[in-house]
Amino acid sequence: MGSRSFQALRKATTCLAVTIAFASAIAYAGHEPMAPDPTLRRYTGKVTALGPPDAKGKVYAFSAAPVGPRNFPLKPDDLRGWRMTVLSGKRFGTEFRIGGNTESEIRVNAQTGPVEGLAVNDVFVIESIDANGASMFTTPAPVPASGG
């Protein structure tokens, strides 16, 4: 390969890389196409069933299914310590702290109260934000396998 064609290939590769990086960033951008915090991770889902009540009749767990573009397959305790905010229904705007999770069930920390009033099909967002409002990660979130 001659040096001219090598340079052309190099330029094309660089151009493609820049285009992909820019397109990825724009696809995630919000009402302003500005660079978001790359360390902030989100999981959006909806309630599919409420968990059983504890001995005192309080419910702290529910089954969930992912909804929308901001989620990923759950592994046990992926969401532990993350902040959950209810986005619909009677508990609209209520905040909980996640105590733990399985692949399909999410349990809130008892200190943030039971999930009374939460109902099937209620939508929520769980964010990797600690009690001080800071992101719990220092590295960028992995690119989801699917979603749009």
Binding site: I26, A29, H31, E32, P33, A35, V86, T94
Partner: protein
């Protein structure tokens, strides 16, 4: 009796979660922007009326739930990396319905590092319930046509809000 007490407790819990608002309309607007900046989803939602409709860069969120699910996270992301400085503000209305019109100089950086420096126009209509004003309508646009087009494209790429 027990059921009535449980219902009362739930009502109080819901009211507490959604009880913020503000006594002065402009304070509600500023508190909303501050909540976005602080990545505080619950605080931002507490400043929204449940009958909220949002017009944002040519895209409509017809309900508070749709906005909360589809675009609030994006607005939080944007607010965290940009600075909104008030250039002008006019307030008006009377009784329980007021409006706050604000122009902002917005500065920040695009994902490729290009600086952003533009004017964003904001119309907020607020409704007072139980003594507190909350935002019942928001409308944002910008003086930068290419930026507006980019924002509109980004906003229409999200998934539709789930239906019950």
């Amino acid at each position: 009796m027990r059921r009535a007490l449980a219902a009362l407790a739930l009502a109080l819990l819901s009211a507490a979660a959604w009880g913020q608002g503000a006594r002065i309309p402009a304070d509600a607007v500023d508190a909303f922007h501050q909540a976005l900046k602080n990545k505080n989803t619950a605080a931002a939602l507490s400043l929204l009326d449940r009958e909220l409709v949002v017009y944002e860069f040519g895209v409509v969120d017809p309900t508070a739930e749709a906005y909360a699910f589809q675009h609030l996270p994006l607005d939080i992301d944007a607010a965290a990396v940009s600075t909104w400085t008030i250039q002008s503000r006019r307030v008006g209305g009377e009784g329980d319905i007021r409006w706050v019109l604000t122009t902002y100089r917005v500065t920040g950086k695009q994902p490729d590092g290009t600086p952003v420096d533009l004017t964003t126009l904001e119309t907020m209509i607020l409704r007072r319930t139980a003594g507190l004003f909350r935002i019942v309508h928001m409308h944002w646009s910008t003086n930068d046509a290419s930026f507006q087009a980019q924002s509109q494209k980004a906003r229409t790429q999200g998934a539709a809000a789930p239906k019950k």
